[in-house]
């Protein structure tokens, strides 16, 4: 939390709370902090922020933290929190909303590799209508390398990442689990139209 003492400022909290509730379809005000979600969260130990705390953050209008904390990025979308919530709040949906809001606000993600992963996945699925593993890993690693070279790790980090992926790639190849043919659908134009509509939706 940004301030040592909790301060409730409705002018900050109300717009944020309203936006998150509208977009995620979740009633955050129903949370009575029983922390069943926290108890079941598989990444809670690592993130510090658990679903209950994330909801508090939003209610208190802590926008900056809410849009970019470890839980938002490390959430594995296992849906344990939502399944166990006595008030039917699906926090994973809140995380999805916050990720999208962070992207729209051009906030550099706390864990950029995760964001790059999802972008590369959806791009790969858009090119041929099906997800091609080799194409995807190429797209993903090129983006990673670009980022490392721009700020941070440099060639050393790029090499370490490549080495790691190569290790998996080689063992997959040995087990004949690498697929070299590109899968492509016939009515690809339908997929292109859906992607265009998605961009329009996000923009509008």
């Amino acid at each position: 939390m940004s301030s040592p003492v909790l301060q409730f400022m409705p002018e900050l909290s109300q717009p944020l709370l309203q936006e998150v509730m509208d977009r995620s379809g979740q009633n955050l005000l129903a949370c009575y902090q029983c922390r069943r979600c926290a108890a079941g969260c598989p990444v809670g130990e690592e993130t510090g922020v658990t679903p209950d705390r994330l909801i508090r953050m939003i209610i208190f209008g802590e926008k900056e933290e809410a849009l970019n904390n470890l839980l938002v990025w490390k959430c594995v979308a296992c849906y344990t929190c939502g399944t166990r919530c006595p008030n039917n709040i699906q926090t994973a949906r809140i995380n999805e909303t916050l990720k999208q809001m962070a992207k729209e606000a051009h906030i550099e993600p706390l864990l950029p590799k995760i964001s790059t992963f999802h972008d590369a996945f959806l791009r790969s699925a858009s090119h041929f209508g099906r997800f091609n593993e080799l194409e995807f890993i190429g797209l993903y690693e090129i983006q990673n390398a670009k980022r490392e070279l721009r700020h941070g790790g440099g060639w050393k980090a790029v090499a370490a990442e490549m080495k790691n992926q190569a290790k998996l790639g080689i063992s997959m190849m040995k087990k004949k689990r690498v697929h070299f043919r590109l899968d492509k659908i016939r009515r690809l134009s339908e997929i292109k139209r859906l992607y265009k509509k998605a961009r329009d939706e996000a923009g509008g």
Binding site: P42, E46, V76, A77, R177, I185, E190
Partner: protein, 305 residues
């Protein structure tokens, strides 16, 4: 009429993984279900469902991508569609649910599709197909080998029982029993354990390895403490993750033992007398043949192997 008494056709959505790194699961599903009297009709021109990435980052695509497949499936005229991959299954089921509640969104998506979503097709997981056939005795009837001595930790993962929307399933959410029912029908002795519906972090394996290794180590430790001698799963993401990274997980926490990670269809195939080659069991990362040999599950008919 008893289930399995005659050939029935159902629609089939393999998903991208079953056409690539988990092709063995596709092969197994087709062979094993044929034995049970089910012919899988792969729907034409299907596309990627968007998986976890769409659901996490794009609300529209998360519904629209599976919707196209739903439209194609509805047009096939078949009543039911098998989706063996848990991720595809979950995304498609959720998309169908959202579309049934949001006519405006459905119309918006349908204008872009040559085959419109009608909402007719019934989505089935592999367990939805197998459990009734275990209960009716068809599976036991088609089995020629007893899997006694095999002690699988039945691993469901996240997406088979938990959904981001209000979707009811026939099994217990916290302690599902479907896979155990099938295993028992084959003579196997599934263990009782705590981590059957915990997440293995498959979607984080490439982009956040620390998290996925931590999650897998918990699953591995509990399975070993309960004296399982293998895992069995229905999800290609879980299978790949727990199989390909198991050495790394075990090395990070000093575990010597390894546990093969089988698809449920493999166990059925072994019990039905398919060869190891037919089931492609040599495509696992963790050695699976040692355990099967030890349990004499592939020495009964040696000339076939």
């Amino acid at each position: 009429m008893r289930l399995g008494a005659e050939i029935m056709q159902i629609a089939y959505y393999p998903g991208c993984t079953l056409h690539a790194s988990s092709e063995l699961y596709d092969v197994q599903c087709r062979k094993v279900l044929k034995q049970l009297g089910i012919e899988l009709k792969e729907i034409e021109d299907w596309n990627c469902c968007g998986a976890t990435s769409a659901s996490k980052t794009d609300d529209f695509l998360a519904v629209a991508l599976p919707a196209r497949n739903l439209g194609i499936a509805d047009a096939s005229g078949l009543l039911e569609m098998l989706i063996p991959c848990s991720s595809c299954y979950s995304r498609t089921l959720v998309s169908q649910k959202i579309l049934s509640e949001d006519t405006e969104l459905k119309n918006k998506i349908n204008t872009e599709l040559s085959k419109k979503v009608e909402g007719r097709i019934r989505i089935a997981s592999i367990l939805d197909i197998l459990v009734p056939r275990a209960n009716s005795g068809v599976i036991a009837e088609k089995s020629v080998k007893n899997l006694g001595g095999l002690k699988p930790a039945c691993y469901y993962g996240c997406l088979l029982t938990r959904f981001p929307r209000d979707i009811q399933i026939s099994d217990n959410v916290e302690n599902p029993q479907g896979m155990e029912t099938v295993c028992k029908a084959l003579g196997a002795e599934p263990i009782d354990w705590c981590y059957k519906t915990d997440c293995c972090g498959a979607s984080a394996a490439i982009n956040d390895a620390d998290t996925s290794l931590l999650l897998m180590s918990r699953i591995m430790k509990d399975a070993l403490a309960r004296e399982a001698n293998c895992f069995v799963t229905t999800c290609p993401m879980c299978q790949m993750n727990m199989d390909a990274y198991q050495d790394q997980v075990c090395e990070s926490c000093g575990i010597q033992k390894r546990l093969p990670v089988f698809f449920i269809t493999e166990l059925l195939g072994i019990a039905m007398g398919f060869t190891l080659q037919e089931m492609q069991i040599d495509r696992h990362f963790v050695d699976s043949l040692g355990l099967l040999k030890e349990l004499k599950l592939y020495a009964i008919n040696p000339e076939r192997y």
